[in-house]
C-alpha cells in the first residue's frame, strides 16, 4: 500500500490514472497526486483536459425506447416512395410486426433480466395450468414452436435435423430439456434470425405457400393462419415477458388484432365440436346440412380491431348467421384474446351475456381451450 498522505507515484503510474481521475473514480490521495503532477507535466495536463472534456460527452439517460409504432410508419413511408418488388404478404405482416416489437423489448432489457421468472399460463380444457420458466426460456419456447412453420417451408428445424416432433408442448419440453445450463440472452439471436428468415422466405414464396399445411400434432393450420397464430403467441408471450421485467407492452395494431380475433373465431366451431366429443360441452341441438346457416352465438368484440362475429354452435360445417342467433356475448378485443390465450378464466370473461346460457358457457370454455403452451 502507498502511504496515505503524499503518495510518491511515478509519471507512468500517474499517466495511467488519468482516465480514472477524469471520471472521479480514484481515491482522494490519488486525485491529489494526479493534480499536483498536472502542474508540472504539460503532456499529462494536456491529456487530462481532453479526457475531462470527453467525460462531458457521456450521458446517463438511457437511450429513449423507440415507439414501436414508428416502425410501421417508417416502413409505410418508404414503401409509398418506392413500392416493394418483393412485398411481405399481408398475412405475414402481423408476425413481422410482433416479432419486431418483442425484439425491441428484448433489446431494452438487461442481461440479468433474461433470468427473471415467467409463469406461462394456459387452460388445458378443464382447468388453468401453468409452467415456470425464465424470459430466455420463453424465447426458446417461441423459437421452437415457430420452428414448425420453418420446417413446413423446408427450412432448418431449431431442434436440429431428424426431429419429427409436432406438438408445441413436446417441442418446447425437448428444447428446454436439451439445454443443460439455464438459457441466456444468447437465445435472442437465433430466434430473431429464424423469424427474419421466415418472413423473407414467405415473401419470396408469396401466395404459393399461403395454404401449405403446418402440422401441430393433433391439428394443422394453413401456413397463413399458422403465421398469424405465431404472431398472436409472440404478442401474448411478449406481454408475459414485459410483465416479468416490469415494462409496458401494448396490444397489436387494430388491424392485426382484428385478424387474430378472426382466426380464433374461425377455430372455435372445431374446438367446440372436440369438447362435445369429449363430453365437455352440451350436445348439438339442431344439425343442419353442411354450408347452411345454423344456431349461432353473436360475438360482439368492442374496441379497436373489434367487430361482430357469428359462431356456428352445433357443427363446424354449419355457417354462423345473424338470423339464427340464440345468444350474444360482448367483450373487449384484448380481453377476448386474453381468454383465447388462457390468461383469463372463461368464468370471469365476458362483460355482457344474453340468451342461451349453455351456448355462452360452451363457447367461452372452447375459446379458453384454444390456449396451449
Amino acid at each position: 500500500m502507498a502511504p496515505l498522505s503524499t503518495p510518491v507515484l511515478s509519471h507512468r503510474v500517474l499517466k495511467a490514472l488519468l482516465g480514472a481521475w477524469a471520471l472521479a473514480a480514484c481515491s482522494a490521495e490519488e486525485t491529489a497526486a494526479v493534480e499536483e503532477h498536472l502542474t508540472e507535466c504539460a503532456p499529462c495536463a494536456d491529456e487530462a483536459l481532453r479526457l475531462r472534456d470527453a467525460v462531458g460527452l457521456l450521458h446517463t439517460d438511457r437511450s429513449l425506447d423507440l415507439d414501436p409504432l414508428l416502425r410501421s410508419r417508417v416502413i409505410e413511408g418508404c414503401l409509398s416512395r418506392r413500392p416493394a418488388r418483393i412485398p411481405i404478404p399481408a398475412w405475414a405482416a402481423p408476425y413481422d410486426a410482433e416479432t419486431a416489437r418483442l425484439d425491441a423489448l428484448l433489446g431494452d432489457i438487461g442481461a440479468s433480466e433474461w433470468h427473471a421468472p415467467v409463469r406461462l399460463r394456459w387452460f388445458d380444457g378443464e382447468q388453468a395450468v401453468n409452467r415456470r420458466t425464465t424470459v430466455a426460456g420463453v424465447i426458446g419456447h417461441l423459437m421452437t414452436v415457430d420452428g414448425l412453420v420453418s420446417t413446413a417451408l423446408g427450412l432448418d428445424d431449431p431442434l436440429g435435423p431428424g426431429q419429427r416432433l409436432h406438438s408445441p408442448l413436446e417441442r418446447t419440453e425437448t428444447y428446454w430439456a436439451a439445454a443443460y445450463r439455464p438459457l441466456t440472452r444468447t437465445v435472442r439471436e437465433p430466434w430473431r434470425e429464424q423469424s427474419h428468415t421466415l418472413i423473407r422466405t414467405v415473401s419470396f414464396a408469396g401466395r404459393g405457400v399461403a395454404e401449405l399445411s403446418v402440422p401441430y400434432g393433433d391439428f394443422a393450420l394453413p401456413l397463413q393462419d399458422s403465421l398469424l397464430d405465431r404472431a398472436f403467441e409472440c404478442w401474448v408471450h411478449g406481454g408475459d415477458i414485459a410483465a416479468a421485467v416490469d415494462y409496458p407492452y401494448e396490444a397489436p395494431s387494430p388491424s392485426h388484432l382484428h385478424r387474430m380475433i378472426d382466426l380464433a373465431v374461425r377455430m372455435l366451431p372445431a374446438a367446440l365440436a372436440e369438447r362435445r366429443r369429449a363430453g365437455l360441452a352440451g350436445p348439438a341441438r339442431h344439425l343442419v346440412t353442411a354450408g347452411s346457416p345454423g344456431r349461432s352465438l353473436h360475438l360482439e368484440v368492442e374496441g379497436l380491431g373489434g367487430g361482430d362475429w357469428y359462431i356456428a354452435l352445433d357443427s363446424p360445417a354449419a355457417v354462423g348467421s345473424p338470423g339464427h342467433t340464440v345468444a350474444q356475448v360482448a367483450l373487449d378485443g384484448v380481453e377476448f384474446c386474453r381468454l383465447v390465450a388462457g390468461h383469463t378464466s372463461p368464468v370471469e370473461a365476458a362483460a355482457g351475456q344474453e340468451g342461451d346460457r349453455e351456448a355462452i358457457r360452451d363457447v367461452l370454455f372452447a375459446a379458453a381451450a384454444l390456449s396451449r403452451l
Binding site: 480514472a20 491529456e47 479526457l51 472534456d53 460527452l57 446517463t60 437511450s63 416502425r71 439471436e189
Partner: protein, 198 residues
Amino acid sequence: MAKDTPPRWDRRMQQRLARGEAAALGELYDRFAALVHSQAHRMLDDEDAADLVTREVFGYVWENPDAYDPKQGSMRSWVARLTHRRSVQRLRDAEASPYGSAAGDEDRAPGPDGLEERVRRATAAARADYIVASMPAPLRAALELAYIQRRDYRQTAADLGVTEDEARRRLRLGLQLLSTANTRPLEGSSPPGYGRSL
C-alpha cells in the same frame, strides 16, 4: 453473434434493398432504427423531429441503396452519416424559418454563430454516442460502471473481474476514444469519425 460478418451483411443488405425486398427493409430498420433515432434525438432534442429524421433516413436508404459504397466504410457508419446530415439540415431549416420547425424553443442561441456552435456541439454529442456504441464492449462496460454506476476504478476492476491496472487502462483508453468526438472539425456534410473502425 450473427452468422454474417458485418461487411458481408452490409453487401447482402444492399443487394436485397436494391432488389426491392420489403423484408430487407424491415431488417434494416431493426438493426439501425435505435442508432438513427437516438442520434437524431441527441442532435435535435425533439421527439417529433427525431421521428421525422428517422423516416427521411430510411426513406433515402430504401430509395437509394446504390448510394452506399462498402469501400467507404460500414453500412452502420453510412447510416450514421446520413442521420447527421439530415439532422444538421433540420437545425439549419429551423434557424432559417421565422417560427422554427420542431425545434422552436426560445432558449436556442440565435444567429449564425449560435447555430454553428449548436451544430458543432450536437455533432460532437452524436459522434460520442456513436463512438460509445461501437467501442469494444470491455471499454464500454468500464466506462458505464465508472460513470453511470459511480464506481471507483477499484470497484470497477472487481465488478469486471480484472486487475486494477487493467481497469485504469480501460477507463483511459475509453475516454481517449471518446475524446476524438470533440477534436474533429466539422467538414461539410460528412463528418469524419463515423467511417473509422473502432
